[in-house]
Amino acid sequence: MIGIGRFGRMLLIGVPFFWLALFFLLPLWIVVKISLAESVIGIPPYTPLVTHGVSGLKFHATLANFALLVHDQLYLRAYFGSLGNAAVATVLCLLLGYPIAYAIARTRGRRRQVLLFLVMLPFWTSFLIRVYAWIAILAPNGILNELLTGLGLISEPLPLLNNQFSVELGLVYSYLPFMILPVYGSLSALDESLLEAAADLGARPVPVFFEVILPLTVPGIAAGSLLVLIPAIGEFVIPDLLGGPDTLMIGKVLWDEFFNNRDWPVASAVAVVLVAVLAIPILFAQRFLERSRIA
C-alpha cells in the first residue's frame, strides 16, 4: 500500500507474523523438544531437556520414543493403516467426485450456482454431526439394516458399522466436497474452443474426454487428491466413531496415547513422525495453492 510508511509496513507484516510464529511455529518446535524427553509421573509429565546443575547446564535428550515407534508393531501398522485408508478414500473420492464435478460444470446459469452452494454447504456444517449421522444408518439395528430386513432381502443384520467399510465410507462421505470443488474449478476453466476443435475434427466423446479433458484437469485432480489425502491421514473422529477394534489409524493412536496413556513424549514422537510423513504432500499442496492464487 502506498504511503503507510516503513513503520506501518513493519506493523502490518509483523503482527500476523508474530502471531503465527507464536501459535503455530513455536508449538511445533515444542512438540519436537518433548518428543526427545522421557515420560514421568508429574506435572508436566515429561523430563526437562536442560537442567541447571552445579556443573552448569546439562542436556538430556533421548531417542527412546522414536525407537518405540519402530519396535512396537502398533505404531507402524497405524501409520500404514492411515496411509492405506486415506489412499483408498482418495481414489474413491476421485471416482465419485469427478463425474459430479463434470455434471456441475455442464449445468448452466443459476442452477450451477445452486449446485455449487450445495456442494459447499456440507463443508460448513459440522463434521461431527455428519459422521454421527452414519451411525444411525449403519448400526446393526440401524435404518439401512431395518429397511433391508423389512424388504426381506436379508434375514440377519449386515455388519456395516465399526469396521473397515464404515471407516472408508465415512472418509469418502466427509471429504468428497474437497475433491469436487478443485476438479470443478479446472473443468470450468477449460477452453471450450479446444473441445469444439476436437469435435470438429471428428473425435468421439470418449477419446475427447481421455485425451483432451482429463489431461487438462490434472491440476484440479492433484489439488483435490491432496486435499482429501492429507487430512484423511491424520483423521481422528471417523476412526473413533465409525471404526472397530481392527481399525488402526495414527490420529486415533496419537489421541489415545495422549488422553488414555497420558504419555506426552510418545504422543509427541508420533506427531513428529506424522508431520514428517505429511511434509511431502503438504509442500506439494502449498505449491498448488500458491500457483492457483497467482493464476
Binding site: V31, S126, L128, R130, P231, L254
Partner: protein, 272 residues
C-alpha cells in the same frame, strides 16, 4: 464445455445420485429428530418431544453458550489478523521471511487437527510452567481457534485482493485522499465479501471444532462439539439429532447469507 445434449440423462443421473449421497444422511438425521420414539430406527410418529428435552438439558445449554462465546471472539481475532496477513502477502511481494510466513499461513489449513491441538496444548503448558499463565479453558480454546481461523481468512482476503482493481486506490490518492481514508472508504468495502465470509467461516470452524478444543481445554470449559462427542460415544440419541438439526439450520442460514452476499457483489461488479 461443449453443450451437446447427448449427456443430458447421464448428467442428471449423476447429479441425483451424488447429491442423494451427500444429503441423505443429513436428511435422515433431521427426520429422526422429529421421531416420537427413543429408538432411532423405529418411526413412531411426529413429535417435537426431543426439542423440549434438549431445552431442558443444562449440559448442552452451557456448552452451547461456551461455544458461541469462543466462536465470536475467535472469529473476530481471526478476521483482524487474517486480513493483516492477507494484505501483507498480497501487497508486498518481497520481505524478509515471506516464504516461511506463507508456509505458516497455509500449513494450518492442512496439518491434522490432532497435531495442531497437541502442539498448542504443549505450548500452553510450557507457558504455564514459565510464567504461571494462561490457565486452560475458554481463553486457550479461543486463541487456538483464532490461530487457524486467521489462516482461512487470509486465503479469502488474498483471493479477493488479487481481483481488486488498484487503480481505484491510486485514483483516490491522486485526488488527495489520505491513505487511511482510502483504506476505509475504498479498499475495505471492496473486499467486504471476503471479510464477511471470512468471519463466518472462522466462526463456523470454531463452532465445529472438536479435536483442537479437546486438547487445549482445561477442566472448566466444555464446548458443544465436546458435549456432543461424549454423548455420541455412548450411542445415538434423539436429543443429539434435535441439536444437530438446530445447528444445521443455523449454519444453512449463515452460509446462504454469505453466498448471497458474495453473489450479489459479483453481479454488481459485472454490471458496473
Amino acid at each position: 464445455m461443449s453443450s451437446t445434449r447427448t449427456g443430458g440423462g447421464f448428467r442428471i443421473a449423476v447429479l441425483l445420485l451424488g447429491f442423494a449421497f451427500l444429503y441423505a444422511p443429513i436428511g435422515l438425521l433431521v427426520l429422526y429428530s422429529f421421531n416420537a420414539s427413543r429408538l432411532v430406527t423405529v418411526w413412531a410418529g411426529f413429535s417435537t418431544r426431543w426439542y423440549g428435552e434438549l431445552a431442558r438439558n443444562e449440559g448442552f445449554r452451557a456448552a452451547a453458550l461456551t461455544s458461541f462465546e469462543v466462536a465470536t471472539f475467535a472469529a473476530t481475532i481471526a478476521l483482524v489478523l487474517g486480513t493483516l496477513a492477507g494484505f501483507s502477502m498480497s501487497r508486498f511481494s518481497r520481505f524478509r521471511g515471506r516464504t516461511i510466513f506463507g508456509f505458516a499461513l497455509l500449513a494450518p489449513l492442512v496439518v491434522p487437527e490432532v497435531i495442531l491441538g497437541l502442539s498448542l496444548l504443549l505450548l500452553f503448558v510450557s507457558c504455564e510452567n514459565w510464567i504461571g499463565w494462561p490457565s486452560r479453558g475458554i481463553p486457550t480454546i479461543t486463541v487456538a481457534h483464532a490461530m487457524f481461523g486467521a489462516c482461512f481468512v487470509s486465503v479469502l482476503v488474498r483471493a479477493q485482493l488479487a481481483g481488486f482493481d488498484r487503480a481505484l486506490e491510486e485514483a483516490a490518492l491522486d485526488l488527495g485522499a489520505r491513505p487511511s481514508t482510502v483504506l476505509v472508504r475504498i479498499t475495505l468495502p471492496g473486499i467486504s465479501p471476503a471479510l464477511i465470509s471470512g468471519w463466518l467461516l472462522a466462526f463456523t470452524l470454531s463452532l465445529d471444532d472438536l479435536v483442537v478444543a479437546s486438547f487445549v481445554t482445561g477442566p472448566s470449559a466444555t464446548t458443544l462439539p465436546m458435549a456432543v462427542f461424549s454423548s455420541v460415544r455412548l450411542g445415538v440419541s434423539p436429543e443429539v439429532n434435535a441439536l444437530a438439526t438446530l445447528f444445521l439450520g443455523l449454519v444453512f442460514v449463515l452460509v446462504a447469507l454469505a453466498f448471497w452476499l458474495t453473489a450479489r457483489e459479483e453481479r454488481r461488479r459485472h454490471t458496473a
